[in-house]
Symmetry: C2
Subunit: 344 residues, 2 copies
Amino acid sequence: MKQFLFLSLGILFFSCKEAPKKPSKDASKDTFGIVIHGGAGTILRKNMTPEMDAAYRKTLAEAIAVGHAILAAGGTSTAAVEKTIHVMENSPLFNAGKGAVLNAEGEVELDASFMDGARLDAGAIAGARTIKNPISAAIAVMNDSPHVMLSSAGADRFAKEQGLAVAPPDYFVTERRIDALKRVQAEKASGQASLDKKTAFYEQQRMGTVGCVALDQAGNIAAGTSTGGMTNKKWNRIGDAPIIGAGTYANNASCGISATGWGEFFIRSVVAHDIAALVEYKGLSIAEAARIVIHEKVAKLGGDGGIVGLDRFGNVAMEMNTEGMYRAHMNAQGEQTIKIYKYE
Amino acid sequence: MKQFLFLSLGILFFSCKEAPKKPSKDASKDTFGIVIHGGAGTILRKNMTPEMDAAYRKTLAEAIAVGHAILAAGGTSTAAVEKTIHVMENSPLFNAGKGAVLNAEGEVELDASFMDGARLDAGAIAGARTIKNPISAAIAVMNDSPHVMLSSAGADRFAKEQGLAVAPPDYFVTERRIDALKRVQAEKASGQASLDKKTAFYEQQRMGTVGCVALDQAGNIAAGTSTGGMTNKKWNRIGDAPIIGAGTYANNASCGISATGWGEFFIRSVVAHDIAALVEYKGLSIAEAARIVIHEKVAKLGGDGGIVGLDRFGNVAMEMNTEGMYRAHMNAQGEQTIKIYKYE
């Protein structure tokens, strides 16, 4: 009888302990870290030339090395996110800054957002056309305006007033994106592709957003996201990238997240904040929280894409429900992971 | 010994039961419900004439009666939210639709969003200038576009293509808002007021957003928010009202929320989704979740404002950290609450 009662006690005690689970990690191990993405989507090995594969890996390595060096030298997570994203915005490979995709009128409309997990402060721009590095404009909105989100011509004007680097519209436009717009419009016109009836190529044209999350040695998390949005977008559409809570969220109490994918579904799922809420309120690990939101919630609605994130212990999440996501991670020891395809 | 063990078992069992707390309510009692706000801020009895007080209460009563009648007749929460908000958008008393506040150039820029808690689908517009009823445009974006959020001239163009009611820019402009803009600009020019150094009058000029949350007899929650934003806003600023997760969120699994207040802080706090996350993930009541987010989180950052919300059981929250909030609630029994001041 006594044994039975002790057993019952044990079982009850154990079931009590199950929730909430707290993420635990040897805090001395990862004193800082950085993770980036360059977009998620139908990225198949068979469709990539060895040259393209190598070019993406090289730029991801260059970008993450910039931020890692800042963090290793004791710099802030804000500086690491900004400078890392600059490398990707300045590269025509990614759908952000130079090389952004084109809207239905053949123009770029640039979206970006940034969040500082220490102050819970944030900045964002949407629909800008002349800001060379949108992530810097998002940070300037946070630091130097009374607002959090500026848009369209006003965002361009603010950036210029702040003395940020501006570029003429044709700086951003590349042959590759002109061709992509023509092909998407032709596929749409012929009825081959629509948002409901997608070809792999069509689907790919809303991918390529870049993002970065960093944890610095002071324990501060920052997250940023920058994108040109979706090829052939209309009506000054705004996606998830400039939306705090959807494309970007950072909170020292939980984690930082940057998302990439089909923005409409990421807004509806409030992806970045939902992952942070599962970490903070349910005690889930960042990896488990990301898995639930990307594979169960977003996928259930019919959306696809992925996220990268870091929690306050340096635990990393790189989660996607697509065939690939350009992504890289470096920890405090300088160990580097660079991946493109889902399985590699 | 045996008694001690039974006692221990009881204690452990009880402590296990404590978390998560599930909101419980007699489901047969509130089969539907509706709650609205018309803005939160420095609304003091001493500054209101009896006529103004009566005019606000009359319009709140008219608005909520429209939605309540739809719900009582078995209509959808979407229809109830839309038609209720129309009454407030069409009234010059509130900062939405006709009577919206003016930006630094003396123009209106209209923001609105809507979320359907059954489908987790959503729509939003930001920075529109010619849409008579912005909430209807937000719903049309959800139902009739592949996007969730449209902005500026594109939002106006989309609404026109959809055959929604358009209005010339001067339809929206009222003497009261022209005077308010002049006074805010004069106070700013004289250094009396700035975003850091606020006068009560200046502060008031970012208030008046309208919103509605409804629970219909099918158990579906919908939420919507519509606003002209902040008087004297610059750079095509976007506030929290059109941001899914910040100003508006609805999820049948938890609750629906519409927010009003200093939008910048509501974006940073992802207010609407954070309340829903506390309800869903921590099992808090909607009232307790709203109290934590408005009084602890938003207030701690320096922000003010309020929310209205309903959970799936019809439990209501009307929470603010300001001197007042225009607000009303009606339950399935037709019991009506209309309040303006914090204490009444």
